[in-house]
Symmetry: C2
């Protein structure tokens, strides 16, 4: 089966065209079926493409002059949805010129543009931002929402659980990923009303392609004991950034200590494999590609400072979601949830006794 | 000046009497003015004291049979406030038999008992749990609330800022500690209404013994670029635990890598100073002693799994807050805030143009 091509916002991200094109070229070297629509300044894209002849034949360029600024407010950027590289990349998905879009630009603007162009899918109230977080086990954990929705009700959280599980099934290949809600304790009485409500809904639901396992505390995120962690966007963002900061803190401490004495310097050299492993696990480029779930179309956010390798990962994430039809998987589970509710209401009082 | 004695709940914590008494003995060896009221099973306390003759002369024992369980619900524990070692330790502060209380027991129960016995101080709506978080700089950062209040309004957050600053002035010795609000971005428009509201109140306030510097994101908590980080209890708990978990994640990765090859094992031995430094910075015993701020009295929570060194730290924190009269410092700043509001309202329309 030939894969629909992927639209790449070639202008977004800290490094812009060069890295985005190099990332696409790297992904293409790994998967020769990949095709691209590169959106942005034609001249600069062509200059970058000159270094990647393999990519040239697999790419079309969609020229535009305008770029969304990194600090621009989403509402402001939205007005230029039809003229910016980000807006046109998303628009290509809407009109079928591409199957998925990848951008390393302004997250808020990308979310706003994606919602406007692709619309939220039926049965989902709000899209969410999901990412893969490294763990001690062999596989990453899917975590959402990471900042798209500041405040969430129980209904949102249940929908996030379904979307996250669909994503985890694609990434991990499990039939029923283990899902937990992020909370400040694991007892049933802990946390906000919304969390307790969402937990009882998920516990009561049957037929969903997921296993709900209750609450998880933030110190267990990196353990790898569950496959999906569901949270509101505020707490999710706090947790994700706290993890990033703490990991950097520990490695900075180590670096300081290693450079403080000759003995330690020698130790550092000898223990290279350890620090390599650390780099591999903590390098955001190995986990790049946050996904907007719940839209009628696939949009992947590459980290603004991602390297070409990181961009290639984001492109691969987009291709995978496309190939495995994430939107349809979510729709199926939503239908199950709907039938569940139907069953519940027809069973009515009989079930209550 | 002689210091009022410190009531120690000798029964709380994972290890119970032995560690609590050893901790008190360690603190006493460091500060010979310390006096203790040891609350709990007399026989077991006397057995533990036998190993610490220096402490025996400086201690009185208050016997009781009952202990608050680690998993007990606060509401349930509250009913036994007059019979448990935790309840009696707090009660000793209320009745002046001690100046401060230290317990390593159930946090929720300790908070509930402290609130009931000592009452919230005038001008404070809700007490908060504050702790010292390690940073890359020489000094820890004060962070609050860490879980006492699940949801907070702007007024709560402003009061937390004042309480945290008072604590930081005592711990760090600064006149006007740098205070920031934890948020998911640093722009003024980011975050919840409560956060934006609290920020504008803190910005507008004059005469407070603190410097308000806006928002901080969770990845900067361990940087040490500010002295106090203010947050609601839910986000604070998420951030704190995410940091703990990530630090453990990184050190576990390192340990795995170091033990995977002979070359790495050698590296580990040679780089001992680095790992020692890491241990020193990350060991919770070096940062032990979470403080309930905003009560008419000093109560310090020692970590349930703290070592004797950790308990000694918690005792020292209690003594320091007592000596420097934290309650009075908070009251002074609250009075300033009140005068501020008075000035604002008398200036009225004139100031608005």
């Amino acid at each position: 089966m030939s894969l629909p091509r992927i639209a790449v916002d070639a202008m977004g991200g800290d490094e812009g065209v060069r890295v985005m094109v190099e990332g696409a070229a790297l992904a293409r070297r790994r998967h020769d079926k990949f095709q691209f629509l590169l959106v942005g300044d034609r001249e600069r894209i062509e200059t970058a493409l000159a270094h990647h002849p393999g990519l040239t034949g697999a790419s079309e360029i969609l020229h535009c002059d305008d770029v969304v600024g990194g600090d621009e407010k989403p509402t402001q950027a939205l007005r230029r949805a039809k003229t910016t590289s980000m807006g046109l990349a998303v628009d290509a998905v809407k009109h079928g010129a591409a199957g998925a879009a990848v951008s390393a630009g302004n997250t808020g603007a990308l979310m706003a543009m994606s919602k406007l162009a692709l619309r939220t899918m039926p049965g989902i109230d709000r899209p969410a931002l999901a990412a893969l977080i490294p763990t001690l086990k062999d596989q990453d954990v899917v975590m959402l929402d990471l900042g798209a929705n500041r405040e969430c009700d129980a209904r949102n959280l249940v929908q996030f659980a379904i979307m996250g599980a669909a994503y985890a099934r694609i990434v991990h290949g499990y039939d029923a990923p283990r899902v937990r809600l992020l909370n400040i304790g694991t007892e049933e009485t802990k946390g906000t009303e919304q969390l307790q409500d969402a937990a009882s809904q998920l516990k009561a639901a049957t037929g969903l392609a997921l296993t709900f396992e209750g609450f998880v505390e933030a110190d267990k995120i990196n353990r790898g004991d569950c496959d999906v962690i569901v949270t509101d966007g505020f707490s999710g963002n706090i947790a994700l950034k706290a993890i990033e900061g703490a990991a950097r803190f520990v490695t900075d401490l180590l670096r300081n200590a290693f450079s403080s004495s000759f003995r330690s310097k020698v130790g550092f050299l000898v223990s290279r494999p350890a620090t390599e492993l650390l780099r591999h696990h903590l390098d955001p480029n190995n986990h790049n590609g946050a996904v907007f779930l719940g839209l009628n179309g696939v949009v992947v956010k590459s980290h603004g400072s991602a390297s070409a390798k990181g961009v290639a990962n984001a492109v691969e994430v987009a291709a995978r979601l496309l190939e495995d039809d994430i939107t349809n998987r979510i729709a199926q589970d939503l239908a199950e949830l709907g039938e569940d509710r139907l069953r519940d209401s027809t069973r009515g009082e009989a079930a209550a006794k």
